[in-house]
């Protein structure tokens, strides 16, 4: 058996499953996107792409996802590094801390945020008491709310992914760097960061895709006045029952995300090359 065959065997179950259980169904669904009353049509795409409103929604989706990813990365890397460097016990508790938010049903969690962010919430109250805002000031149903809420849930994906990579880096490299005059922080920047890149990339990819394709948290925290594409898709499926349009939107979302991802993935492959 050749290496190639072995790898084939390794990847085959996943691949088959992916094709049969994912692509077949999804294609059946996406096929709708070009179906109109009278045969094939691109009307649904035109409707989306020819419409500033929907383009706005798409742009917001991508923009927010990028912001969320960025925040997660910026917060996640130091977090992961601290975890990697702290004692096993501390690390465990930090892990617990990071993953707990995932353990609450999204709606309930959102309620938590509501309590913190909305009109009578802690933060706006503070703002008000400090005279920074008027009575109706609220963070609920704003893009900030979406970012905050999403970061809280997506952080673990970033942190744990990076952590798992960091934990395999050869400590001697950092030592070597120190003997070559790196300050602690320089070491982190010049040695740890590049070596952790695969982790960061992977984490970023996860976070980005997740935030771009999730709709519950955004629609609860952002409200219907700040729509993201996934929410709009959900709406087309269940409320307006316009499945072809939903399919079209999905295709667009898919290609949009892919467009953003490709450079990342390239980068990762280069790192490994």
């Amino acid at each position: 058996m050749t290496d190639r065959r072995e790898n084939l065997i390794l990847i085959l179950p996943g691949l088959l499953l992916l094709c049969v259980a994912f692509f077949l169904p999804i294609l059946r669904m996406l096929a709708l996107s070009v179906e109109g009353e009278d045969g094939r049509t691109l009307a649904h795409f035109q409707r989306f792409l020819g419409d500033a409103f929907y383009l706005g929604v798409l742009w917001r989706t991508v923009r927010l996802s990028l912001i969320i990813t960025f925040v997660c990365a910026v917060v996640g890397f130091p977090m992961a590094y601290i975890m990697a460097r702290s004692s096993a016990r501390v690390r465990l508790w930090l892990i617990v801390m990071v993953i707990l938010p995932l353990m609450t049903s999204v709606v309930v969690r959102t309620f938590g945020w509501m309590v913190v962010l909305s009109r009578n919430g802690i933060i706006p109250e503070l703002a008000r008491d400090m005279g920074l805002a008027g009575r109706s000031f609220t963070l609920m149903q704003t893009e900030s709310a979406i970012v905050i809420g999403m970061v809280q849930v997506l952080l673990p994906f970033m942190v744990l992914t990076i952590l798992s990579v960091l934990s395999r880096i050869d400590g001697r490299l950092e030592e070597a760097a120190r003997t070559m005059g790196c300050t602690f922080i320089q070491t982190v920047r010049a040695v740890v960061l590049p070596l952790a890149l695969p982790g960061i990339t992977a984490g970023a990819i996860l976070v980005f895709t997740l935030s771009a394709s999730s709709f519950i948290t955004p629609s609860l925290l952002g409200g219907s006045r700040i729509q993201v594409l996934a929410a709009s898709i959900y709406r087309s499926v269940t409320q307006t029952l316009d499945w072809p349009f939903a399919a079209a939107q999905s295709v667009i979302l898919f290609s949009g995300i892919l467009l953003v991802l490709i450079p990342y993935i390239r980068q990762q492959s280069r790192h490994r090359g």
Binding site: G14, M29, S164, L206
Partner: protein, 267 residues
């Protein structure tokens, strides 16, 4: 003494951690608070303290059965996904397959498409081809959205593995399987552990697929919670979440005591 970290940075580090802690756990405190509330409706600060909502949940056989279903589902999915995904990740990492990078992206696609589209598609497809829904349908659905996590994290972990180790194993007569088990798996262990956790959590918390791919006997916990919220929202949902929080903590600590996650997380 890699950890020759200047004191200033240590302090900064801890402040940072605490800040993050507050940010992450603040809302959860609210949730727990709500779950202890006397009142009928979700409100904070809680009006009066009581455990009645916990009692309500723990005695409500529908919650329990849903929880049981979710648990079984999550366990099954976790095992399957970690196996299949891990294998795929290893294959992709070795780069002997054409366009392994494209493959990696392919495996990501279930994440990229909104679950609802997949859910509907799956529903149409399944009922068209296999007819009535089963536990398996939902399991497969969850499997598909879990595998991407496994593939991503594991390939990331393998990225900087020492290539010589596997070769050394080969020269020592390790068969392919042995090699996988004794050399490669230990190397991607951290990745597998993490992604296993992801899978469990995703599957246990997933609502959309579960919403569409269910049948009377198959209502997962999240779906149950939505049903509850939609019509008569009361602190019981908060109680459920609080219980899950508690279980997570206890589980992690117990598992750690027994077989030491920290060792896994330390590898």
């Amino acid at each position: 003494m890699v950890s020759a970290v200047p004191a200033a940075w240590r302090v900064a580090g801890w402040i940072f951690v605490i800040a993050i802690g507050i940010f992450l756990l603040g809302p959860l405190v609210v949730v727990i608070g709500v779950s202890l509330s006397e009142s009928q409706f979700i409100a904070f600060p809680p009006q009066g303290l009581s455990l009645k909502w916990y009692q309500a949940v723990l005695t409500d056989e529908r919650y329990l059965s849903s929880a049981w279903i979710s648990l079984r589902l999550a366990l099954l999915v976790t095992c399957a996904a970690t196996l299949i995904g891990g294998a795929a990740a290893i294959a992709i990492h070795r780069r002997s397959l054409p366009g392994s990078q494209a493959l990696a992206t392919l495996f990501l696609s279930p994440l990229i498409l909104p679950t609802i589209i997949f859910a509907i598609g799956m529903l149409m497809f399944w009922s068209a081809v296999f007819g009535p829904l089963t536990f398996l349908t939902l399991a497969i659905g969850h499997l598909m959205i879990c595998i991407p996590y496994v593939v991503r994290t594991t390939t990331a972990v393998l990225a900087d593995a020492d290539p010589f180790l596997e070769e050394a194993a080969r020269t020592m007569g390790a068969s392919r399987l042995q090699r996988l088990w004794h050399v490669v798996v230990p190397q991607c262990l951290p990745g597998l552990a993490v992604s296993a956790f992801f899978c469990f959590n995703i599957s246990f918390d997933e609502a959309v697929l579960s919403l569409f791919l269910r049948h009377p006997g198959l209502t997962t916990l999240p779906v149950r919670i939505y049903g509850q919220l939609e019509f008569s929202p009361d602190p019981s949902v908060a109680a459920v979440s609080s219980i899950m929080i508690g279980i997570t903590v206890i589980l992690l600590v117990v598992i750690d005591r027994i077989l030491g996650i920290h060792r896994i997380s330390a590898t």
